[in-house]
């Protein structure tokens, strides 16, 4: 057919070669794992390095490592940041002696490329050795704009990456773990700073910074340091003690993943593995030793603390099931009286048929027994509206008595209990009254408390309350 010459021409012009899709073979592992023969040789030990370059003259200092020849140090990484308690720094230890050095690097999740147990060699020329709050670290010079001072700062990650060599594969079993007692820890010198230590047979005392008792809610590793504006960010101390009563502090950051986990109960005993840290931020203050745990696995033999059992209320009444419950309403003046409403709770108003009527009305609780309490408080939700705001606090009050039995409350002795929070008096919004503290002399049996409502012929408010508890 006459098309033949055209099909041939077509084929002839098809001189294109198809490049195959480029698939990349993985770089062979042995090319990337540095053997001992290719490893950099250290020029001095970590101890000598600190001795040579550390300027011991101030708590925030920097010293340039700008020697003629290269300075190479080597160590094994003893820190991991997977739990977030350690952030943008790592600690290495001398593989023979365990002496440690902290290195600040500006990258989150450093442990991804610089894992726990990895031996590394660092070329230090061009970096600085300095002190931050009196603890030695390797970094770069930076300026702290909040405190206007020069201090060691984090090495930019690519700058550090060009100076570091990872040797072999990570070996966590080769990490030197130094057993130490708390007295030895507190008496140590700067050669201990940064080391990984193990303190045996300790327990959490339930005390925090400076020995203050922790409230139940604060018995977690690191509550928020939010001060109303921002997170201040200081690590928070949790006290541990040995059998002899010697104490030390484990400090954790609120950004740690275990920050909200409850600390072990006081009756739990175990071993603590931690990095020793030193903090002294001015020449005149006393420095303190802080223990930094890396993950919760550093607490060996402990179980995490149990959640607090919620203390049951001694007495409670919602007022929302259509009755005043065990309360009694006593009307001293005026025909209007306290009544219950399914939706609004216990309510009273002197306003009826288009005008106000003078009233004094009491809503009195049954007798309760507060003798088992160390302290007690009444709390409820209330709303006040339609009255004169000037009379808000005088016309709606709370009282307590230990000698009222029945009848006109004015015949008994009552002590006023301050209602902590009042609503603004101009809307139907309920607010919590807060904790209205019961004076300690009433922490006994047979006490009653009561709400007193007043109004006049010219003005009257409506007072509604619900969800009352005494704890």
């Amino acid at each position: 057919m006459k098309y033949n010459k055209y099909t041939w021409a077509l084929l002839a012009t098809l001189g294109f070669t198809m490049a195959g899709c480029a698939k990349f073979d993985p770089i062979p592992a042995d090319q990337l794992i540095v053997g001992n023969d290719a490893a950099w040789t250290e020029t001095m030990s970590i101890a000598d390095f600190k001795q040579t370059f550390d300027r011991k003259d101030s708590v925030f200092s920097i010293n340039y490592i700008d020697t003629e020849s290269e300075v190479i140090i080597k160590g094994r990484i003893t820190s991991t940041d997977v739990a977030g308690n350690i952030y943008k720094y790592m600690v290495i230890q001398d593989t023979q002696t365990g002496e440690a050095l902290k290195i600040s690097v500006d990258a989150g999740s450093l442990s991804g490329t610089l894992p726990l147990g990895q031996v590394i060699a660092i070329k230090c020329k061009g970096l600085i050795l300095g002190r931050y709050a009196d603890m030695v670290q390797l970094g770069v010079e930076t300026f702290n704009t909040n405190y206007s001072r020069v201090e060691p700062g984090r090495i930019p990650y690519p700058y550090f990456d060009a100076r570091v060599q990872l040797i072999g594969i990570p070996d966590t079993s080769a990490i030197i773990l130094q057993e130490i007692t708390i007295p030895e820890l507190l008496a140590c010198d700067s050669t201990m700073y940064g080391r990984l230590v193990k303190i045996k047979d300790v327990h959490f005392t339930g005390l925090g910074d400076g020995g203050e008792r922790l409230s139940d809610a604060d018995k977690i590793f690191a509550p928020s340091t939010f001060n109303g504006t921002y997170n201040v960010g200081y690590p928070q101390a949790r006290q541990i003690a040995d059998a002899d009563g010697n104490v030390a502090y484990i400090s954790s950051s609120e950004y740690a993943r275990f920050a909200d986990i409850r600390i072990p109960d006081e009756d739990q005993w175990g071993d603590v593995v931690a990095l020793v840290s030193w903090y002294k931020n001015s020449p005149t203050t006393e420095g303190e030793i802080q223990l930094t745990i890396r993950t919760l696995n550093d607490l060996e033999g402990f179980e995490t603390g149990s959640a607090p059992t919620p203390t049951p209320a001694i007495f409670s009444e919602t007022f929302l099931n259509g009755t005043l419950g065990e309360f009694t309403a006593y009307s001293v003046t005026g025909t209007q009286t306290w009544r219950a409403d399914n939706q609004y709770g216990a309510t009273i108003s002197g306003y009826q048929n288009g005008s106000s009527h003078a009233n004094e009305d009491w809503l009195i609780s049954p007798a309760i027994d507060l003798s088992s309490c160390e302290k007690a408080a009444i709390s409820f939700e209330h709303a006040i509206n339609k009255g004169d705001v000037a009379n808000l606090k005088t016309n709606h009050t709370l009282w307590i008595s230990d000698n009222y039995t029945e009848g006109d409350p004015n015949n008994a002795d009552w002590t006023q209990v301050t209602i902590a929070t009042y609503p603004d008096g101009t809307s139907w919004n309920y607010v919590s009254s807060g904790q209205c503290s019961i004076p300690s002399q009433y922490l006994k049996a047979g006490v009653r408390f009561a709400f007193k409502y007043l109004c006049s012929d010219t003005e009257s408010a409506t007072w509604e309350m619900k969800n009352l508890t005494v704890k």
Partner: protein, 960 residues
């Protein structure tokens, strides 16, 4: 071949006509469609006589000197022709067929269109816009053809519209995708020659096969019988996204037995594209067959273009200053070879079947069916519990030494902390960048492998730290349509059409390369950081928690979007002597539904649905358009068009976080469009052109972005609704014939495309938490979203330059040489803004709850901060100078034709032209400040794409 046959027959026929001396006449038709071509310049240079063909393609030259001479035919967009003729005393009839210009510059337009594609949508909320350049290139309209060739390097978009506003069809079947409203150029990548037969409609004009769209419509015609018979082979060399291109096409044309076949293959390749680290490898095939039997015809067409190519990044100015405008942060060396982390793989095999029935002389019925399955994916690095691998991560750059101290760089000399910057460290890092230490300036693949190998030793069952993941956005669609055309009488033409389409978008990601690691554990690492004890919220697939995935496994997210569209339209076209009127009515039904295939923990904890079929949403949208053409005289026409329609939101942009949950944008509603334009078309012998004024209002649109919010330390989805925009401007296209073969084309537009009102922004944390407290809400009926105004009023639409003008001087020599020089200027180009910078919190400030639930005051911008951080950047304008030269050589008595064309672009090597990019979403505040003051330092500067410097295209094509 055929041409010659035709010409010879008529020559001999003409010899029998009665004697009238010195007249040459004839008809010029398009050799593909056989329709007459108007405005062809027909000359006899020897006599210095020139005429133009009329709208019927006919021409007549009188008083021509008898004897041997040459006659030439030329028109913008067509291959010029020349014949030797002998003029005798009897009228000489020369009829000829002209070939549309070989697609040299189509390829350049296509390149630029391909540069910015869907993959960019995944990045930091950048909404990539694509130009319709490729589609309008073969238009006769001087404005449209210029705007496609010349304006395309600047990502110019006609009238500033989004890509969904240009309707693209193939053989009458709508091919804009049902998810994003875009046309997949890469689906026909490289097959420009096979798909060059296009009808382009400008603006709101009537298309004749569909309702049409705002920016007009393009229909690609692949009926095998409409290709000129013959073979066409071309080879090109260029220094753009690819280096080498070859294609071969063979068409039988319509044969005696009623069959026609066309086949084409194309190949494009580069191991090194213009931007560093990019590569290109694309093969295309095309086959069309058609059988005409009597009044019926069945045509089948199939094509596909499997392609693999490397992408290029948008970088900050600092990085471009160190490394030049071709810098690309996505690649690095592996074992000495260039490896790009972002490789796109796409293949969109398509088959189209068309049945045409010519019912009678006045009416016909066309039924078409199409099916395609677009497999599109791109790879990207993912990391877990490891440092960010990006070389241009902001903390790794030299500028961080300044911005960390709140100093805005080396020029900020008045800053109180200026002298405290560690300039030694800054200079050391800067030198590494300038001297191109690729361990720092590009991805360090060896470090990624090393981290994984060490992790295999330390934690063999744990997740790898670095992998290459592949994000898939596949789309399968099947479409059916029917079009009935009836020329009811010689005044009235009717079209009526029905179409339906079912689309299934499939979105998932797979592990592309474990980079030496043993496995990757499928959880969300940000949720794990924030809620380490909550084993539910961190899961991507609750039915397979903590699954270890390997190469090829689907992980992370997996959902489908099922879309059904149906539409009906009818139009009437009245053709009278002085007036043409048309009006068209359409009704569009759109429904879509998400089908989640994984139960996502972050949806589960807040009670939202993730797995299974979600809410079915549907929209019924009417559209009406009308047009009036006043045929003032033989040379002038005035056309007025108007359109009013509502259109359903695009399914892809209708969900807050489709990878996690089935929740649609609040206030999702159809967008309303009102558009009108007035056009003056004039056609004189020496000058022809068009002047247009247009205005389009769009109301109630939606946009969605996602980014990491520094203030709340979490990834947020930020959607805008109630987006109102206006597009108005003027367009001018002129084609002027000068003397001696020179002609001048001018094209320009000046527009004002902006947002006319503020929008409502809804910000929600992707992990479902309350944005302010960072806690999982306990009361699931309460919304955790932050709903507030986003101040978009008077921000500009960022769809390319709003001012573009060009002037082209063309020259045609009868010896078949042609050359042109083009100077163009672009301005009023605005960078894509980030809605996060325009929220009420940042612009005006206000009270927002803090972690304790207390109201905290957040300050808005100061004047200085607004200028630095809270404005939309206007990009610098600039000039582009292009030139091209070409020659046609005929062999073997015009049986074969060789076209050589060299195109030189950006001769001035202007490397300052920013074509687009985006404003980064992140903004830092001083947490210690009582009012949480915004920090007056540009830590997250804008990211840009630059136009290439000098680049060229050499094309050699042989037709035989």
């Amino acid at each position: 071949m055929k041409r010659f046959f035709w010409t010879t027959i008529l020559l001999s026929f003409a010899a029998c006509l009665p004697a009238v001396a010195g007249i040459v006449q004839g008809i010029v038709v398009d050799n593909e469609t056989k329709t007459p071509i108007a405005d062809v310049q027909v000359s006899i240079p020897g006599d210095e006589k020139t005429v133009k063909t009329g709208s019927d393609g006919q021409f007549e030259l009188r008083d021509v000197t008898e004897g041997k001479t040459t006659i030439t035919f030329s028109k913008n967009g067509f291959e010029p022709q020349a014949f030797n003729i002998t003029v005798v005393s009897t009228p000489l009839v020369i009829n000829t067929e002209m070939q549309r210009k070989v697609v040299i510059d189509d390829m350049s337009a296509e390149d630029n269109a391909l540069l910015f594609d869907e993959a960019l949508l995944e990045d930091e909320g950048a909404i990539a816009s694509q130009s319709v350049a490729y589609l309008t290139s073969s238009s006769d309209d001087p404005y449209l053809s210029t705007s496609s060739y010349t304006f395309s390097p600047m990502r110019f978009s006609l009238r500033g519209y989004d890509q969904r506003d240009h309707a693209t069809s193939i053989n009458g079947i709508d091919f804009t995708d049902s998810e994003r409203g875009r046309f997949n150029y890469s689906g026909i990548g490289g097959l420009n020659n096979a798909t060059r037969n296009k009808d382009v409609i400008n603006g709101l004009d009537m298309t004749g096969y569909s309702f049409g769209s705002l920016t007009g419509a393009t229909n690609i015609n692949t009926y095998a019988a409409e290709y000129a018979a013959g073979a066409h082979v071309g080879l090109s060399y260029t220094n753009r996204s690819y280096m080498l291109r070859g294609q071969a096409t063979y068409a039988t044309g319509i044969m005696d037995n009623g069959w026609a076949f066309t086949g084409s293959i194309a190949y494009r390749w580069a191991d090194k594209g213009r931007n560093e680290g990019t590569s290109y490898n694309s093969f295309g095939y095309f086959f069309a067959a058609q059988k005409i039997f009597g009044d019926h015809s069945i045509a089948i067409t199939t094509w596909g273009a499997p392609t693999e190519r490397g992408q290029s990044s948008a970088s900050t100015q600092e990085v471009y200053d160190y490394r030049g405008i071709y810098y690309n942060s996505y690649w690095g060396y592996q074992d000495g070879k260039v490896r790009n982390s972002r490789i796109v793989q796409s293949y969109d095999p398509t088959v189209v079947v068309n049945y045409d029935w010519k019912i009678n002389d006045r009416s016909n019925l066309k039924i078409g069916a199409a099916y395609h399955y677009n497999k599109y994916s791109n790879s990207a690095l993912a990391f877990y519990n490891a440092p960010d691998p990006r070389p241009d991560y902001y903390r790794n750059l030299p500028s961080f030494q300044y911005t960390n101290l709140n100093v805005n760089g080396p020029e900020d000399t008045d800053n109180p902390f200026y002298n405290d910057v560690n300039t030694d460290l800054y200079n050391a890092l800067r030198n590494e960048w300038i001297n191109n230490n690729t361990d720092i300036t590009q991805i360090n693949w060896a470090a990624l492998y090393q981290a994984n190998y060490l992790n295999n030793a330390a934690d063999p069952d744990g997740s790898a730290h670095y992998i290459l993941e592949r994000r898939h956005n596949d789309l399968m669609e099947s479409a059916l349509n029917a079009l009935y055309t009836n020329q009811i009488n010689d005044k009235l033409l009717l079209h009526a059409g029905l179409s339906g389409k079912y689309g299934k978008g499939m979105h998932y990601k797979t592990v592309d390369d474990l980079l030496g690691g043993n496995q990757w554990i499928d959880i969300d690492q940000f949720a794990e950081r924030d809620f380490s004890t909550n084993t539910t919220i961190i899961q991507n697939d609750l039915d397979n928690p903590n699954r270890a995935v390997h190469e090829g496994d689907v992980f992370g997210y997996n959902y489908n979007l099922h879309i059904v569209k149906a539409s009906a339209f009818i139009d009437n076209f009245w053709n009278t002597r002085y007036l043409d009127i048309y009006y068209a009515l359409a009704l569009n039904y759109t429904q879509f539904q998400r089908e989640g295939l994984m139960r996502n923990g972050r949806a589960e904890v807040i009670g939202e649905q993730s797995k299974g079929f979600g809410k079915l949403t549907y929209f019924l949208d009417p559209a009406f358009k009308v047009g009036l053409t006043w045929k003032a005289d033989a040379h002038n026409r005035v056309v007025v068009n108007g359109l009013i329609e509502s259109r359903a939101p695009l399914p892809s942009y209708s969900y807050v976080a489709p990878r996690v949950k089935d929740r649609q944008l609040p206030g999702l509603t159809s967008e309303k469009v009102l558009s009108y334009d007035i056009n003056w078309m004039f056609n004189y012998s020496r000058i022809q052109g068009r002047l247009t004024l247009f205005q389009t209002h769009m109301q109630d649109g939606t946009e969605s972005t996602g980014y990491y919010n520094d203030e709340f330390h979490t990834f947020v989805n930020h959607t805008l609704s109630g987006v109102d925009r206006v597009f108005r401007g003027v367009e001018l296209g002129l084609d002027i014939d000068l003397i001696y073969g020179f002609s001048l084309q001018l094209a320009g537009t000046y527009g004002d495309y902006r947002y006319t009102d503020n929008a409502i922004g809804v910000m929600s944390a992707e992990n479902g938490c309350n944005v302010f407290t960072g806690e999982i809400p306990t009361d699931l009926t309460e919304s955790t979203d932050v709903i507030e105004t986003v101040y978009t009023k008077d921000l500009m639409v960022s769809n390319g330059p709003q001012l573009a003008v060009s002037a082209t001087l063309s020259y045609f020599h009868p010896k078949m040489w042609f050359a042109d020089v083009t100077l163009s200027y672009f301005d009023k180009n605005y960078l894509d803004f980030s809605p996060s910078r325009f929220t009420k919190m940042n612009v005006k400030g206000g009270y927002y709850p803090n972690k304790d639930g207390q109201m905290q005051y957040y300050a808005g911008y100061t004047e200085e901060q607004k200028a630095l951080l809270g404005t939309q950047e206007r990009l610098k304008g600039g000039f582009l100078l292009d030139a091209s030269v070409g020659k046609v050589i005929y062999f073997n008595n015009r049986k074969q034709q060789l076209n050589i064309n060299l195109s030189l672009n950006n001769l001035l090597n202007n490397t300052d032209l920013v074509t687009g990019g985006y404003q980064q979403a992140r903004l830092s505040r001083n947490t210690r400040s009582a009012v949480k003051a915004i920090q007056t330092v540009d830590k997250f500067p804008n990211r840009y794409y630059y136009a290439w410097g000098f680049n060229m295209f050499l094309n050699v094509a042989l037709k035989f």
